[in-house]
Symmetry: D3
Subunit: 140 residues, 6 copies
């Protein structure tokens, strides 16, 4: 079977902090360092989503990248861009917004919409800085 992976990059700029509400301020600071600054900090996040499927012989597409982009925009970017990940995002409420947690949460938000288009979600990657990234491939 000739399955091909298509890849779309989107970007969002958000504030956040790392914080475990069950812990003391001291423990939060020693664990999360500058990332626990109470007044927040922020990033230009890159979101890279991989989707797999067979090529449609009519279009030559696995899935129209514009459709993938629309799903990512409505389900992720519109909710996260120029927002506070800890305070403003319904699907991150009460979560500690590490890049790991954000990646898994985004997977859960978009998987169904991508399957409806007849394709399989392969991975959700987030670049938080040019040195730090996370990639999630779903449950195995």
């Amino acid at each position: 079977m000739k399955e091909v992976t298509i890849i779309r990059r989107e970007r969002f700029s958000s504030a956040h902090k790392l914080w475990n509400p069950k812990w003391s301020e001291e423990k939060n600071n020693s664990t999360f360092g500058g990332c626990s600054n109470p007044n927040w900090h922020g990033h230009n996040y890159e979101l890279i989503v991989k989707v797999k499927g067979e090529i449609d012989p009519e279009t030559g597409f696995v899935m129209n990248l514009k459709d993938l982009s629309k799903i990512l925009k409505s389900k992720v970017i519109d909710k996260l861009d120029h927002k506070n990940l800890n305070l403003d995002v319904d699907f991150l409420k009460d979560k500690n917004t590490t890049t790991e947690v954000v990646a898994v949460s985004i997977w859960e938000e978009i998987e169904e919409d991508i399957e409806k288009k007849g394709a399989k979600l392969v991975s959700v990657k987030i670049n938080e800085t040019e040195n730090n990234s996370v990639e999630y491939f779903g449950e195995n």
Copy 2:
């Protein structure tokens, strides 16, 4: 077994359009949007090829990257760079030049030459723009 993957990036600048000749102009436009512009458009494509094998104890190489580059240049870059993908390329004749189709077609052009060098082709990735990419891992 200690297999290592080596990766080579090449670049080509080409014109193309997305077009299904069995369809009306209207359907082509609604499906492919600006990509169906009759006078063509173009891209700086990046081609990223991964090849796998064991390290030769004499050279420390899986395969000399210069040999991989030569295969990519003679079989792909010389044929696609500063060309029209739809009109000028023998192995894309009568194909709809989506990035998916181009990636699969390049795989078919280079696989044999790489195997002759004693290595295995792992994947062919094409970055069409900084946001849109495709990767093909062969039939499974």
Copy 3:
């Protein structure tokens, strides 16, 4: 006077060829090489526009980058993106579409709109490939 420069990047993907209609095919080929391919080739162009002015004490802006982006989109990107620079663009008609000529032509298209916003156009830069660029600073 505290003048500050603001910088906006936009992108467009276009087909073109280099061709002097007064010359023979032979002379075109020997001068322009692969860039004179009759069936066109193309690029992902980057457009980088610099604009200068004093900071408005009310907004903290020299000029809202969204307004600069709108000018660039309506005057340049909408006309060039997914088009053929030689055939589809009103302000490049009958011009040889070298990056130099495109940069000067874009300057002439946008200068007035930027001055209407109370700012000065500093430069128009175009990256044609990752190795080849052109920058125009206006007449001196």
Copy 4:
């Protein structure tokens, strides 16, 4: 005179919002769009500082880039990185944190230290996103 420019890039990840306290919420929103989100947003900022001087014949340096980096770290990065530009930074207090204002303010913080090293500050550039930047060359 053989003056040479040396260039150092540093990075900081901060939260901020654009807000004029003299304006209504409505006017802030219509002017600054998503950038006025009350719960903040954030960026991976790049700071690019250019410094000019003659080459010291003993060292071959205009100025040791490690010394320039130390000035930038102590005067800028330590104060801005993983902080809220509006709330946590002494030299941005009560300012509207547009990239223009941040660039001018950084210039004022570092100019003296660089002159003490016998070099001249040429410019302070900030990349807020991959598309939006600001550069300040001092008063003219």
Copy 5:
């Protein structure tokens, strides 16, 4: 099981040459080209390490990226950065410093420390230039 991959990039700038001491100078030159220059050459290497594990519900981390960075700095970067790979590095002694060999050697240096942190090493990737890279996924 919800395993997530975390990715850290580090950089080192080193001199090296490709050389098989059992071969004649002629054979070294014809095999390795400019890479066998007796007076060495060098690169800005990028090291990209992927590590996998389950998310700790207390921290939201697979592993604190600062701990991963510390392992990479003490076991790799401190030993390779601003050094000669052939002469100065204990774990590369008497090896031919192809990127393949360096990647496998780095894997062997760091695997144990990462397992002690409760995570699994997934891959070691080295970018030698912007066009040439190698990735090692361990023995299979």
Copy 6:
């Protein structure tokens, strides 16, 4: 006068060290740090050359970028790439190979050839790492 600047990027990978032969080893180490490692280190250098002139109405070029590239290749890249800057390069003999010194020396090597083509050399920029760069604009 409508002068336009054209810009060409080339790359070279070289070994070097920073060393003042008149100084003790101790002073060299304290001044140059890791850059004085006796067994050398190295970089992937980027060379970015800007050249200015009027557009030739016949070609649409300031100067054919292929001609600029040829000058840079024969006068600079062929001599520096996969070489030791301190030992192998005629025009760097007995110089301390700081990026400042290399940039000025490259200017002197290429200025005449560019003027012969009817254009003016504007600047020579060298990126030594992604954070450290130098630019030289000639004597003023």
